[in-house]
């Protein structure tokens, strides 16, 4: 059987083998990602339910576990309405424009030291460029809808994302200065050696700025002025229905997972175990326990899950920011904080004998 498969495989020409292999890897990343997106919506409703002393969805399937599938089928069967005088091409392509960058960015994320799709040198820049492109979907949707509410949402989102993009970029400059590399895999390697080597300690202000900017960038509560149900109905996607709306919805959750994964990789040590470097090789050789305590993809997934829980937690806890307060936080608090910390890193790295982080 294996021989047959191998002979079939060698029958393909060389270039198509590479293409097929990569296609297989992409499917292996995207399929679990989409499943995670679906169940994140379920998890959010459940967690917020329990925070608000409710039960949340519990009717479809055992304990409500089939709820996201029922939601998906419902949205799939609904009609996609295009408003009169709307620009049809832009109206339809806007949801795709928000969804695609959130998926493409996974191309450079290292899952473990050996599992990744691409290992490019400018990974951090690539991520920054892609996350800054997500705003186009929102702006185009707001403009193409030919609706005042949608337009207001798009304008709010554009101003907000430009403000937080800069703080986010500066936070990543701090990471790149500390790690000395733009390659995400090397950034994780630079944090090796246990919990106290992770950058969330050494770059604590930047960690906070990055994560909060990430929440703002994904238009999540308390920064959800682009949607603002109580102010401008649903903001940029007020005119969307059916599957077009569903794609906006999925894009928001895919972006949340992406921001969590990036925060985990850049500040929480990626796939590294918190006990890394503290355990003796004897402990790591124990069959199951050693594998669990040593580094691996399960640590990355655990960190992502924790950060996603924070996203949901914040949404259930904080009231929405007023618009001028968002602007003030972005321009007058986050950007100065990141600039000061970058100067601190630079001074520590080149003027002190210990370098930065001062551990080695």
């Amino acid at each position: 059987m294996t021989e047959l498969a191998l002979s079939l495989w060698s029958w393909f020409p060389g270039w198509s083998q590479i293409a097929l292999l990569n296609l297989g890897k992409i499917v292996l990343i995207i399929a679990p990602l989409l499943l995670a997106v679906a169940y994140l919506t379920f998890a959010e409703r459940k967690v917020i339910g329990y925070i608000q002393v409710r039960i949340g969805p519990n009717r479809v399937g055992p304990r409500g576990w089939l709820q996201p599938i029922a939601d998906g089928v419902k949205l799939l069967l609904k009609e996609v309405i295009v408003p009169t005088n709307a620009n049809k091409f832009l109206f339809v392509s806007a949801p795709v424009l928000t969804f695609v960058p959130a998926i493409v960015a996974w191309a450079v994320i290292p899952f473990t030291d050996t599992i990744w799709l691409t290992d490019i040198d400018a990974g951090l820049l690539f991520i920054l460029a892609l996350t800054s492109m997500g705003v186009y979907g929102v702006i185009v949707a707001g403009w193409a809808s030919n609706s005042k509410y949608a337009f207001l949402g798009a304008m709010r989102s554009a101003a907000q994302i430009v403000a937080y993009e800069i703080a986010m970029g500066f936070a990543l400059v701090g990471v790149l200065m500390a790690a000395g590399s733009l390659n995400l895999r090397e950034i994780v390697h630079a944090q090796a050696g246990g919990l106290h080597h992770w950058y969330f300690l050494w770059l604590f202000p930047l960690f906070l700025v990055y994560f909060i900017s990430g929440i703002a960038e994904t238009n999540r509560a308390p920064f959800d002025v682009a949607e603002g149900e109580s102010e401008i109905v649903a903001g940029f996607h007020v005119e969307y229905s059916g599957m077009a709306f569903a794609i906006f919805f999925l894009a928001e959750y895919a972006n949340m997972i992406l921001i969590s994964a990036l925060t985990a990789v850049m500040f929480l040590g990626g796939w590294l175990s918190p006990l890394d470097g503290l355990l003796s090789p004897g402990v790591l050789a124990i069959p199951v326990l050693g594998g669990l305590l040593g580094g691996g993809i399960h640590w990355l997934l655990a960190k992502i899950t924790f950060l996603l829980f924070c996203f949901v937690w914040f949404r259930a806890t904080f009231p929405r920011y007023r618009y001028d307060q968002i602007m003030r936080l972005g321009w007058k608090v986050f950007i100065p904080v990141t600039l000061v910390w970058i100067a601190v890193i630079g001074a520590a790295k080149f003027l002190t004998p210990w370098g930065f982080p001062p551990l080695h």
């Binding site: 270039w15 490019i120 040198d121 460029a129 800054s132 492109m133 733009l182």
Partner: protein, 201 residues
């Protein structure tokens, strides 16, 4: 045709098409969106030249920030297309003259034989671990440190000038001081008034 060549022609075609659409399309928002497409295709061509840092920075700065602000402004403008096209005939001779001159100048320079492919041999292939970003950073912050700092200073002056030109404080606007709001205590806001209980008469 080699795959790389195919990619180049694909990006180049899209780039030329998008650039042509920027100036011919009537709606300014669509023109701005075509400009985004043009930047994106240009980034693709730069990637083929192994200039990955410049390509990604082009997307990051122009697509991610500059064009967003541009769209922001263009979308808010209420442009009357009929009025805009009124003076088209008057400007056509001057505009056409400038265009012809530009094309002529470019033709003279490019046909002079200074830029032929035989004058510019293909650069040697770079080693696999060559990092564009690192090389560029080393050049900018060591060899060209002073020109870079001067450029940064000029930009800073431009920022300050832009802000001072637009900054005007209106007297009737109410400003908030968040620090003051946080420092406030109960005695400043609430006054406890002692009142005698009223008696029924």
């Amino acid at each position: 045709m080699e795959f790389k060549q195919f990619v180049f022609y694909f990006f180049a075609t899209v780039l030329v098409f998008a650039a042509a659409m920027v100036i011919t399309v009537r709606n300014p928002v669509k023109a701005a969106l075509f400009l985004v497409l043009a930047f994106f295709s240009a980034a693709g061509v730069w990637l083929l030249l192994q200039a990955e840092f410049l390509a990604i920075t082009l997307v990051l700065v122009y697509v991610g920030a500059v064009m967003v602000l541009f769209l922001f402004v263009v979308m808010m403008l209420d442009i009357n297309l009929v009025r805009l096209r009124e003076g088209f005939g008057e400007y056509l001779p001057i505009g056409g003259l400038v265009a012809v001159l530009l094309v002529l100048e470019m033709a003279i320079v490019l046909a002079s034989g200074q830029f032929g492919p035989e004058r510019m041999p293909e650069p040697a292939a770079l080693p696999a671990d060559y990092s564009n970003t690192r090389a560029l950073g080393r050049q900018i912050y060591t060899v060209y440190a002073y020109p870079f700092e001067i450029a940064a200073l000029i930009l800073l002056v431009a920022i300050v000038a832009a802000i001072t030109l637009t900054l005007r404080r209106r007297k009737d606007t109410k400003y908030q001081d968040p620090g003051k709001q946080i420092r406030v205590n109960r005695n400043e806001r609430v006054r406890l008034v002692k009142m005698r209980a009223e008696k029924k008469t």
